[in-house]
């Protein structure tokens, strides 16, 4: 899809849907939304739907940042404690590395 060839109300519709669907534990969708519509929201000359698009872009950014923090802290916590959690860590692992505790 090429945003340049889209009407403004179509853009708003798309941005809104991306934002909504992101609530289904899809932080990457929020991230895509934020990056994709960044130019539309902040760099294009003003138009009617821009204000709303801007809002969705900002919320998507906040959402994806929060998710990123959560995921990063989990990854760090898991990697640091994997050996000491023992059986629990093995049970929630999809890949168990070879040759390390």
């Amino acid at each position: 899809m090429d945003l340049a060839k889209m009407s403004n109300d179509k853009k708003l519709y798309l941005c809104k849907w991306y934002f909504k669907v992101g609530f289904a534990f899809l932080p990457f969708l929020w991230m895509v939304n934020a990056i994709w519509f960044f130019t539309e929201a902040f760099r294009k000359p003003k138009y009617e739907e821009q204000q709303q698009i801007k809002r969705y872009v900002i919320f998507s950014t906040i959402g994806s940042v929060i998710w990123a923090i959560i995921i990063l802290s989990w990854v760090i916590a898991f990697q640091v404690n994997r050996a000491s959690w023992g059986e629990f860590a093995d049970n929630i692992s999809f890949i168990i590395p070879l040759g390390v505790p």
Binding site: A83, D90, S93, F94, I95, I96, L98, G99
Partner: protein, 668 residues
């Protein structure tokens, strides 16, 4: 020269080159046999042994002859990491501490350059925690360094003389000068790859091997284990025979060493194993015409005894659960159950290489067997030893029945005579064996290991005879020293020997003999030597049946097995049908078959062996760091340059590539 000629020359050159087709990888590396490497084993709490880094540990070769050579490189080595090539005797706890303290050594290559006085990496008290009293009051193996049970964070490899010469040559050519410039020039290096999959301990690697969520299921470790061999002197085929109690004659089947693939085990277990087989053979011939006997003899050969008595623990476990030799007593199973309490007297053969006497280590509950032995004695020194019992399978039985009467018969009193216990040097020269290959037994000298073993067998067999029959032997049978000679030859020198030819069955014959080894191994790989030894026991204690051609009995009973085997050592080609009571029983620690076994309890052996993919050793010339940086820089610059070029080509595509109408399908 025109273009055509030029092209032909180029083509010819290509053809010449293809004659020496060798991959760059193969030109760079010199490959060694990497099998004789230390590997990782695990128990309920620890990991022991060695492992390289994933993909191999690399270091600059440094040839070491004395400890000062090693100290020299530790202080003056300016390279990033070193792998010393050092003599075996330097591998001791003090050296390891030195190496571990300084993070410069990434692996060890060992070689042998002289005759050693002692070499054993077993503990000073083998199997201490599985013995009855769990103490180490007597250092049975006084020289034991315990390195077999140490966790080494680097690979340790043992090289033969040819490989050592290659390494030494490379070292003197490239490394052995100007040590202060080691950080600046290209050096001869070696890569040891012995990466072990398992880690931490047995419960952890077992759990991970069985993990259901693991997307890439890997087996991390296998339990150590194999098969025990057992047999009875008199078949238990009638009520009278079943009611008899037993004299158990036991020995161990396995040994270990620090290096994969080298498990000679001459003094222990081979000497005791040969004594065991020769005793069984003599006993069988003595009782041929005996019909009234008071006790039966239970022959037991345990496997995995080196690792906390795997085999005997399992036999005792099975006996107490009413599953030895077979699970239940029913109509179809005429095999009576044998329990620990049925064993009236338990005799175990420990190290029985030549020593200055025979020592009988008694259990707390005394038996009168020692006096019987004395009456049949032909040794200048036969002593009874009371007090602590040496590490032996009898500990598994004593744990179940502290009142068991028994003895461990060995050539040592309070410390092993064998200075190479569980090492690669417990080999043929350690027992001073020479093969005489004779049917004339008088040519075997009286001070040979053969005579020693034959004398022990004779004393034992005659004593056991008077114990089970109730009177002294008066027949004309003698112990067969020529059989002892042959058996040693089988286990020490040539596995394709007469005895193995006599008992071999097709399946075993097809397997190369060099795969024979006395290490218990893992349960998933059958130990062929165990089968060969079992069949030898069957051959020596079996009864010859009138042959109907097929050598199978119509009504199938687990009491007997039937084998076609050679008539005698002198007549290998004519076969007879032997009926034997010999059978195998699983030697897997109960810890691995009890569903909710508490690993922390330490009740049973918990040893397992890590899995691995490759054991390789290769030598190569490591480029100077400046050279390496240069190569990296060239590569990086090429990549960046190509990106820039591509960018410009792409942005100016319309100029460079003239298209018909500058029209892409999507725009039109």
């Amino acid at each position: 020269m025109n273009l055509k000629d030029f092209l032909i020359i180029i083509l010819k050159l290509c053809l010449i080159n293809s004659g020496y087709a060798e991959r760059t990888k193969d030109q760079m590396y010199e490959i060694f046999d990497g099998r004789t490497t230390c590997f990782r084993r695990l128990n309920a709490t620890h990991q022991v042994g060695c492992s390289s880094k994933k993909g191999g540990s690399t270091g600059i070769i440094h040839y070491v002859e004395t400890l000062s050579d090693l100290n020299f490189i530790m202080e003056n080595g300016t390279g990033s990491s070193y792998i010393p090539v050092m003599p075996l005797q330097l591998l001791k706890p003090s050296t390891l501490k030195l190496i571990l303290d300084k993070n410069l050594i990434t692996g060890i290559v060992l070689y042998n350059n002289s005759a050693l006085e002692s070499y054993t990496h077993e503990r000073s008290c083998p199997n201490q925690m599985s013995n009855v009293d769990k103490t180490c009051n007597t250092a049975w193996n006084p020289d034991g360094s315990g390195i077999l049970y140490q966790d080494l964070p680097f690979p340790v490899h043992y090289v033969n003389d040819d490989d050592l010469d290659r390494m030494k040559a490379c070292f003197s050519k490239f490394n052995n000068y100007s040590y202060e410039t080691h950080s600046k020039r290209s050096l001869c290096s070696v890569e040891l790859d012995a990466f072990m999959f398992a880690s931490t301990n047995t419960p952890t690697c077992r759990r991970r091997s069985q993990s259901k969520t693991n997307l890439n299921p890997v087996k991390f470790c296998d339990p150590l284990g194999g098969e025990n061999v057992w047999s009875t002197l008199f078949p238990m085929d009638d009520e009278r025979a079943r009611s008899k109690s037993f004299v158990a004659l036991a020995a161990r089947l396995d040994t270990t060493s620090l290096f994969n693939g080298v498990f000679p085990g001459a003094a222990s277990p081979i000497a005791s194993l040969v004594t065991f087989l020769s005793t069984a053979d003599y006993l069988k011939r003595m009782v041929r015409d005996v019909h009234n006997y008071e006790m039966n003899v239970l022959f037991l050969l345990f496997n995995g005894e080196t690792y906390d008595y795997i085999g005997s623990q399992r036999v005792v476990y099975d006996m107490e659960r009413g599953e030895f030799p077979l699970k239940s007593e029913s109509e179809t199973n005429p095999m009576p159950l044998i329990r620990v309490k049925d064993i009236e007297l338990y005799l175990e053969l420990s190290h029985l290489s030549k020593g200055d006497g025979i020592f009988v280590h008694n259990t707390a509950e005394k038996s009168d067997f020692f006096s019987t032995l004395q009456s049949n004695n032909n040794f200048s020194r036969l002593e009874t030893v009371d007090g602590s019992i040496p590490p032996a399978s009898i500990h598994s039985f004593l744990k179940e029945n502290a009142k068991l009467r028994g003895a461990v018969i060995a050539n040592y009193k309070d410390a092993y005579v064998n200075k190479f216990f569980n090492s690669i040097f417990d080999n043929v020269s350690n027992v001073d064996y020479h093969y005489y290959n004779t049917s004339d037994y008088s040519t075997i000298p009286p001070d040979s290991i053969q005579s020693f073993t034959a004398n022990v067998s004779e004393m034992l067999a005659r004593s056991i005879y008077s114990k089970i029959v109730g009177r002294n032997y008066s027949g004309g049978e003698r112990v067969r020293i020529e059989l002892v000679d042959e058996l040693y030859n089988c286990y020490l020198l040539d596995a394709d020997c007469k005895v193995h030819q006599a008992v071999q069955r097709k399946k075993l014959r097809e397997t190369p003999y060099n795969s024979y080894g006395l290490y218990v191994g893992v349960t998933v790989v059958p130990n062929l030597l165990t089968y060969a030894i079992g069949l030898t026991l069957a051959w020596l204690t079996g009864d010859v049946m009138p042959d109907s051609g097929l050598c199978v009995k119509e009504n199938h009973t687990p009491l007997y097995q039937y084998f076609n085997m050679s008539e005698s050592l002198d007549n290998l080609n004519s076969t007879l049908c032997y009926r034997t009571t010999m059978n195998f029983s699983e030697a897997v620690s109960p810890a691995f078959i009890i569903d909710d076994y508490d690993w922390k309890s330490g009740k049973y052996s918990s040893w397992s062996e890590s899995t691995w993919k490759d054991l390789t050793v290769r030598m190569f010339l490591k480029p100077a760091p400046a050279h390496e940086r240069f190569t990296l820089a060239i590569g990086s610059i090429t990549m960046i340059m190509s990106m820039i070029v591509i960018y410009f080509v792409k942005t100016r595509a319309d100029v460079l590539f003239a298209t018909a109408e500058n029209c892409s399908p999507t725009n039109c």
